[in-house]
Symmetry: C2
């Protein structure tokens, strides 16, 4: 299973266009000390030819330019190596890239029904894309099943979705909330190598079933949005808490770091990191604490084979 | 009047993510011979502190990073130098950036009612932004009037909108078409210097009134989407004609080049250039023909003071 981190920042990216918090300023002035990052998205492939995206950020045009494996096959004037897109929740930073991919063939999008509803009703995604590329929706399976490419052929990957604590996006909160999980994580297994990826870029709190998923994988890509509950307020960048934004924090006795540091996965990487999070600053105490626990702070361009 | 070309390519940018046409391949392999360009947007200011955008592309995050004048004032943790955004039509490449600017203060957006309707109904822009920054709509005047900043103070610029032949976006074609112009151009005048800019990034055909506007300016920024009517088909990149996409072509006896080459403006620059347009290739016969007529092929980062 080939994995490429295309983008590792939360919505807004790092640095963010309208922010001069300490981290954003450092990223502009001395990027070696606070590496700039585009918004969260991951590319995966069983054969390094046919690729799937895990979420698709508004930076996708620049992310594809930075990773030519995602370009069309050399023989075709127009085309794409993208076989499908898996969405974990309907947040704009995970989904606006779908509009940007409108110029190509019909998009094959895997997402739970709640996400499909939020996107179709909240930003009219299906109706808009039908005027351009078209979109084909797929309900991801709750048990491991072959993930098919855009032609319906096996991709060499098995896919399973599992619900995680989350919330509907701010732009679509009309009651009643749709049935089914409002956010999911994905398990992907390479049929040949047996390599197992668990992808959870957004999780509001650790429940037992999510932890069970995290226990059984080779590579864990996990929500690293915030270090602490009041980080937005303390940095002067906002008023919402981590809880209000439905992200578990990394730090502290009940944070995610304490809960994942002893899990057996070979590699554990934080991504979807907000620009206010001190782990983005190289050598900060918070980053050192993460690394001392054997966990990585994701950055754009990291490639992993499992 | 300070003018900065933030992006000069049509929708999809140059090179485009799913394209291997001759121009896109050259832009990837030897960018000095075919300069990469982001999607069309222009920043203008009377004082080099308070800026307005003319259209806002999905590349806006990267365009702001490339032009630090648009960052927040040094003293503020969160903020922006952007005082307003002027939209010429509701095409996605002109407007998706509004979603990306959702993290800041309420956006002050100037657009004719037809554009507002397409965006509000077609992609629910107003409802979505109301869940984040908020949005304040302004109907642009048909006679020169002071352009106000986001606090309602004079910007030092005068603004006038004028209808141009155009069409509703593909995603919002429900009959009946809204009343009023479906696309506009903008005239901007610096109150101190008297410098006059005419901005028409999309025009389906030259009518008398648009030509009158073009005759009376110091700087003309004009639709350079296509060189020829069947360019998309001939390059293998699509099936629509320039006419079907509502863009006048540059080349030929009835093209825009023949019509603007004798206009008195000091500088005339093509922008919103599609990736299939041969003027993007340095030294191509088509680019040479444009330059020989005293017209410029726009590229990102060009700055002009008038």
């Amino acid at each position: 299973l080939q994995v490429r981190l295309l983008g590792t920042a939360a919505g807004g990216g790092f640095p963010q266009w309208n922010c001069r918090c300490a981290g954003c300023e450092k990223a502009r002035q001395t990027p070696s000390l606070a590496i700039p990052r585009t918004q969260s998205s991951v590319a995966i492939s069983a054969d390094s030819k046919n690729w799937f995206l895990l979420n698709v950020s508004p930076d996708i045009r620049h992310q594809i330019a930075a990773f030519p494996d995602l370009l069309p096959p050399p023989s075709s004037v127009r085309g794409s190596a993208l076989q499908g897109i898996l969405i974990t929740n309907a947040d704009l930073d995970h989904t606006l890239g779908l509009f940007i991919l409108r110029e190509g063939n019909p998009l094959s999008v895997h997402a739970p029904s709640s996400v499909r509803e939020a996107l179709s009703e909240g930003i009219k995604l299906s109706a808009v894309l039908d005027a351009y590329s078209g979109i084909r929706w797929h309900e991801p399976p709750h048990q491991l099943q072959p993930l098919l490419d855009s032609n319906g052929s096996p991709s060499g990957l098995l896919l399973q979705a599992f619900g995680v604590p989350g919330k509907m996006p701010r732009y679509y909160v009309s009651p009643p909330a749709p049935s089914g999980a409002q956010a999911v994580g994905y398990r992907l297994v390479d049929e040949k190598t047996g390599g197992k990826l668990v992808f959870i870029p957004d999780i509001a709190s650790f429940d037992g079933s999510a932890l069970e998923q995290m226990k059984d994988c080779d590579l864990l890509l996990l929500d690293g949005t915030f270090w602490s509950e009041n980080e937005m307020k303390e940095s002067g960048a906002g008023t919402l808490t981590a809880t209000q934004m439905a992200h578990v924090v990394i730090g502290g006795p009940r944070g995610s770091l304490a809960q994942i540091k002893n899990l057996p996965a070979k590699r554990k990487i934080y991504l979807h990191i907000n620009n206010t999070n001190p782990i983005l600053v190289e050598g900060s105490p918070e980053q050192m604490e993460v690394k001392a626990a054997g966990i990585e702070v994701g950055h754009d361009g990291v490639e992993i084979a499992i």
